[in-house]
Every structure is written in structure tokens, then in C-alpha cells.
């Protein structure tokens, strides 16, 4: 069995409640942290090599150390629970089943960063989880882990849950801050970064749910021990939410030494592809990251076994690799149409563009229209080239990463599945009733039916 640092206790009866969580060793990290210097906690997180689990993978300790600390100005910690990247539902699982783990991580992190008011910004659709979290907050407060003078340390902290109202863009940290201020979720133009000027113009750290939960085991075991799990710069464990055409969709905690092949086919994880179908492609890190055909997914272009970690999944760059991203693992079997899949993602990004900057506002809709045309058998070969040119002109030229997120799936689909796009163009009628199938991207593994 792989090490489980976050979900080990997920199935303990009543773990949602304070007494059970506490009996299972919960809140030890808070007790330990409050006896430490805040800077020492930041140091532990740095040593752990923890990287942001929201998608970007930025070293968390480093992010924390950027936080400005001007005299007399409050600092804020904001927990990003706006989980909206298609394919990603790991934070939901963590909050739903282990709310106290997040609250514990938040208290430790708030103490380390000096935040007396900490906010959890949760996507509006996760309405029932708001109640679960508020219950956990109330229990922690009753037991002296929140509120004034926590455990006699002199540290005050309140945690509030703020519900969003339906906007993917609010997962971008500056859009999240705008939304938390009661405004439209328009990302801010950076610099200044939130570490200098964030919530209400005060220094702010925004971290993903899983990142903040991971602070608990880091404190408990020490940063160095945490760093021993995993490989290279992919330390610790990662939550992967697996979905699409697999036998066992769900949330899995993995060590980042696991191979992609084992993750898909082992019964401990996804349990293979249903109905004896074969693997066609996979989007390994949430809808924004490049889709990979089976042959590049299981092995890198160099022929090495691909592992479920930051470095291995991005091996080969965008030419032959992808990204670990948020850990939203979407599997496509041989019956799936890459054009259709790309179209639904393009539609998603058009729908979620805030509309502030022109390449994203105009480009996302244009891509969706062209993809619709191709999907409906009305496209031309020149449309594929046009699509490529549009995504190229969006990428890197927008205010926030939504532009890149919209461009990459289209780019990768054309890069690896151009023949399928061309087949749609050349077989306008056939493509309405039939799928292209596997072509030469066949899964090298034989799976018995």
C-alpha cells in the first residue's frame, strides 16, 4: 500500500466530527505549530518541497516567503476552494470527508503567515460543503482551536467560508480576490502580486485546498521526512481525481513514483478501461493541459516509463509531454472523438472567459465556432490551420492563464490528432455517425475483454 498522508483516515466512521478527528490524532500539528516561530514553519514547508496543488505547481514555501510584512497592515491567507477545472474534484472530496484536516492546515498556515482572518473561497455549486466546513469551524472554535488566544498562544484567528457564484475564472488567484471583495471576477493585471497587494490591497497568500491540507503532515513528520516521499522535485503525495472511461472513477492519493500505466490499469486505482475497450488518449492534469495519445502517455518519447509526477508528465515539453496540473485525470477510450472532446473544452473556456482582454474574449469564441464547424462535418483543411494560428495568438498574450488554458487543449489536439481532424473534414457524412477510432495511437498494452 502506498503512503497515505491526506486520505488515510477518510473512511474512519465519523471523521467529519471533531472528537473523532481529534481521537485519531488530529490537531497535533496545531499544537506543535503554536510552539514554533512562524518563520520556522515556513522553513519546514520550504524543506518539504511542497508544490502548489492547484495546478501551477509553484513551490509553496517560496510563495509564503514572498509575503510582504509591512508594519500595521493585516495579512490574509485565502484558501482557494474554487475547484472548477474540468476533470478535477479532489478538493471537494477532501473537504467533504475530511473538513477538519483542511481547517487544521488553515490554522497552522494562518499562524505561519500571520493571518488573523482567513477565508475559504469555495465554488458556489459546492453549496452543501459550505455547511460541512462551517460545522467543522464551529467545532474547532468550541474546542479552542480557533478564535481568540488559541491554546493560550496569544494567536487569534477566525476562518470564514465565502461562497462563489459560478465562475471558473475565480480559481485564478487575483480574480478570486476580486470576487472575495464582492466584485466581478476579473483577474488583476500583475504586478503587483497578491503577496504585496492582495485582498483589500493587503499582502495575501492564496493556496489551494490540498496544498493547505498537506501542511498538516509536513508539520507532523517534518519537512525533510515529507521530502523523502516521492521523487525529485515531486515530493509528498498527490490527490488525483480520475474520470472518463475507466472502471473506478474517484479520488486517489498517490505517491509520485507511480507509473501512469499502473494508475490506469491497476485495480488499486482506476481498474482499467471498461468493456474491454482500449485506451485512446488521456488528459492527465485537468482539461487545460495537453491531451496525450496512448503511445505518448504510458511512455515518454525517449521510451521511458511515464510516472505520475510533475517532471515525468511534462517530459518532452508540449511537443510530446503534458503536465500534472491539478491532477484531474481524464481518460478517453477508443470510442471517443477527439474533435468533439476538444469542442466541449473550447466551449467551456469561451463560457468562462471573463471578457476583459481581447485575445481571450474574441479568440475563445472563434475557436469554438470553428470546432463546431469541423465537428459537424462542415470544416475545411484550412480551418485546422486557422485554429492552430488562433490558439498561437491567444497563448501568452492574455492577462491571466485562462488564455493559455484555452489554447493548449486545442493545440495539443491538433498536434497529436491532426489526422482525426482531417478525417472529419474529408468524411463530412461519415463523421456524423462514426468515430475515427484508435488509428495508429493504439494502446501498446493488451487488455483482455
Amino acid at each position: 500500500m502506498a503512503t497515505k498522508l491526506l486520505l488515510a483516515k477518510a473512511h474512519v466512521e465519523g471523521i467529519r466530527h471533531f472528537e473523532v478527528y481529534r481521537r485519531e490524532g488530529g490537531y497535533a500539528a496545531v499544537e506543535k505549530a503554536l510552539k514554533m516561530e512562524p518563520a520556522a514553519i515556513v522553513e519546514e514547508v520550504k524543506k518539504s518541497g511542497l508544490r502548489g496543488r492547484g495546478g501551477a505547481g509553484f513551490p509553496s514555501g517560496m510563495k509564503w516567503s514572498f509575503l510582504a510584512k509591512p508594519e500595521g497592515v493585516p495579512r490574509y491567507l485565502v484558501c482557494n476552494a474554487d475547484e472548477s477545472e474540468p476533470g478535477t474534484f479532489k478538493d471537494r472530496y477532501l473537504m467533504e470527508f475530511l473538513p477538519h484536516l483542511l481547517i487544521e492546515g488553515l490554522i497552522v498556515s494562518s499562524f505561519a503567515l500571520g493571518s488573523n482572518r482567513t477565508y475559504i473561497y469555495i465554488r458556489g455549486e459546492y453549496a452543501w460543503i459550505v455547511g460541512i466546513l462551517e460545522q467543522a469551524i464551529a467545532e474547532a472554535k468550541q474546542n479552542g482551536f480557533l478564535g481568540k488566544n488559541i491554546l493560550g498562544s496569544g494567536f487569534d484567528c477566525e476562518i470564514y467560508v465565502q461562497r462563489g457564484a459560478g465562475a471558473y475564472i475565480c480559481g485564478e488567484e487575483t480574480a478570486l480576490i476580486e470576487s472575495l471583495e464582492g466584485k466581478r471576477g476579473n483577474p488583476r493585471i500583475k504586478p503587483p502580486f497578491p503577496a504585496i497587494k492582495g485582498l483589500w490591497d493587503c499582502p495575501t497568500v492564496v493556496n489551494n485546498v490540498e496544498t493547505l491540507a498537506a501542511v498538516v503532515p509536513i508539520l507532523n513528520m517534518g519537512g525533510e521526512e515529507y521530502a523523502k516521499i516521492g521523487v525529485g522535485r515531486s515530493t509528498g503525495t498527490k490527490l488525483i481525481s480520475a474520470c472518463g472511461n475507466i472502471n473506478k472513477p474517484g479520488v486517489y492519493e498517490i505517491e509520485m513514483t507511480l507509473s501512469v500505466e499502473e494508475f490506469i490499469y491497476s485495480d488499486e486505482y482506476c481498474g482499467g478501461i471498461p468493456n474491454g475497450k482500449r485506451l485512446k488518449a488521456c488528459i492527465p492534469g485537468g482539461s487545460s493541459v495537453p491531451i496525450l495519445p496512448a503511445n505518448l502517455l504510458l511512455k515518454t518519447a525517449k521510451g521511458e516509463t511515464r510516472l505520475m509526477n510533475y517532471e515525468s508528465l511534462s517530459d518532452g515539453g508540449f511537443a510530446t509531454g503534458s503536465m500534472l496540473g491539478s491532477g484531474g485525470f481524464i481518460v478517453l477510450d477508443e470510442d471517443q472523438c477527439v474533435v468533439k472532446n476538444t469542442l466541449t473544452l473550447a466551449r467551456f473556456y469561451r463560457h468562462e472567459s471573463c471578457g476583459q482582454c481581447s485575445p481571450c474574449r474574441e479568440g475563445t469564441g472563434w475557436m469554438e465556432k470553428i470546432l463546431t464547424k469541423i465537428e459537424n462535418g462542415k470544416g475545411a483543411i484550412s480551418d485546422i490551420d486557422l485554429l492552430w494560428d488562433i490558439q498561437r495568438k491567444i497563448e501568452g498574450n492574455t492577462i491571466c492563464p485562462l488564455g493559455d488554458a484555452a489554447a493548449w487543449p486545442v493545440a495539443a489536439a491538433i498536434r497529436h490528432f491532426r489526422d482525426e481532424f482531417e478525417w472529419h473534414v474529408n468524411n463530412p457524412e461519415l463523421c456524423q455517425t462514426q468515430n475515427y477510432g484508435l488509428a495508429h495511437y493504439a494502446d501498446p498494452i493488451h487488455v483482455p475483454a
Binding site: 493585516p74 475547484e83 472548477s84 477545472e85 474540468p86 476533470g87 478535477t88 474534484f89 471537494r92 482572518r117 465554488r123 458556489g124 455549486e125 459546492y126 453549496a127 452543501w128 470564514y160 465565502q162 461562497r163 462563489g164 457564484a165 459560478g166 465562475a167 471558473y168 470576487s179 472575495l180 471583495e181 464582492g182 466584485k183 466581478r184 471576477g185 483589500w200 481525481s241 480520475a242 474520470c243 472518463g244 472511461n245 472513477p249 474517484g250 479520488v251 488528459i283 482539461s287 484531474g328 481524464i330 478517453l332 471517443q336 468533439k340 472532446n341 466541449t344 473544452l345 466551449r347 467551456f348 463560457h351 468562462e352 471573463c354
Partner: protein, 162 residues
């Protein structure tokens, strides 16, 4: 006239108290949720103006926010709103068929409300339930692993509640 009850007004105040002095505008998004639940499932201009007045902000600041977020209804909706996800992962698991089935079953198009005002059908983008696809949101609940039989059950249950 739209006006919250005394109890609700207490809830409003506790929402405003979550933020530092002078930052009450931050309560706008939660307040709009509350107003939508309380005043018929949608936000009329009058409702939005009222929310603005509670926070001491200009009406346009409320309209700007209410029109930005997809969870606010700016037009009246049916008693039960089916918001079916049709983004990539749900599409892979057959959300298109579920949408088509609901359309035939209720005899409405996407975005429409049934004549009896009972059901509204909407398609929405990813709701973070990709592993439990196909799925839809109904009020604050998620209905997951949808099948035609399950849709039948849900519709029947809604009708029975009448």
C-alpha cells in the same frame, strides 16, 4: 416590496460581520445567493437594488456582479431547475444522451421552462463531479451517475411533491 424577514436580516448582518470595517461590499455575492433563495429563485432589478441598499453600494455595482456569475438567475425559472453538465468528462460519459432524454421527456428545449412552471432545463459547464458523471445540479443538490431511469425517478419525485 422585497424585504428580508427580521431573522434573515440577522443573517445578513452576520455575513457583513465576516469582513473588516468598511469592506461590507464583500458580502455582496453571499447576499445575492440569500436573496435569490428568498425571493422566488431569481433576481429582479428590485431585489438587486434592495441588496445594494443593504450594503450601501450603487445599483450598478450589484448588476455588474449579478450578471457575471452563472448561478444567478436574472429571469424567473421553474420550481425545479435541472442544470445538466455537458463539459468534456460528462460528455465522455453520455451527458448528451441525458440532455436529449430530458428534452423529450419534458418536451422543452434547453433554456426553457415547462408550461406548468415546474421544470427548467439548463446546460451548464463543469460542476466538479466528473468522476460521478453524467450529473446535474438541482437546487443545492447534485444528482450523479444519471441514467434515463434515474431521470424518470427524479421527475416523478418532483411531481409528487406538488
Amino acid at each position: 416590496m422585497v424585504k428580508f424577514s427580521e431573522d434573515k436580516l440577522k443573517e445578513v448582518q452576520s455575513m457583513i460581520d465576516r469582513y473588516p470595517e468598511g469592506k461590507q461590499k464583500s458580502a455582496l455575492i453571499p447576499l445575492l445567493h440569500l436573496a435569490q433563495e428568498d425571493f422566488g429563485g431569481w433576481l429582479s432589478a428590485e431585489t438587486m437594488d434592495y441588496v445594494g441598499s443593504l450594503l450601501g453600494i450603487e445599483p450598478i455595482e450589484v448588476y455588474e456582479v449579478a450578471t457575471f456569475y452563472s448561478m444567478y438567475n436574472l429571469k424567473p425559472v421553474g420550481k425545479h431547475v435541472f442544470e445538466v453538465c455537458h463539459t468534456g468528462p460528462c460528455m465522455l460519459k453520455g451527458s448528451d444522451d441525458i440532455i436529449a432524454y430530458i428534452k423529450t421527456k419534458l418536451d422543452i428545449k434547453v433554456g426553457e421552462t415547462t408550461a406548468d412552471g415546474l421544470f427548467t432545463l439548463k446546460t451548464v459547464e463543469c460542476l466538479g463531479a466528473c468522476g460521478y458523471a453524467p450529473m446535474m445540479q438541482m437546487g443545492i443538490d447534485y444528482r450523479e451517475h444519471l441514467t434515463e431511469a434515474k431521470v424518470d425517478e427524479i421527475i416523478a419525485a418532483c411531481r409528487n411533491k406538488q
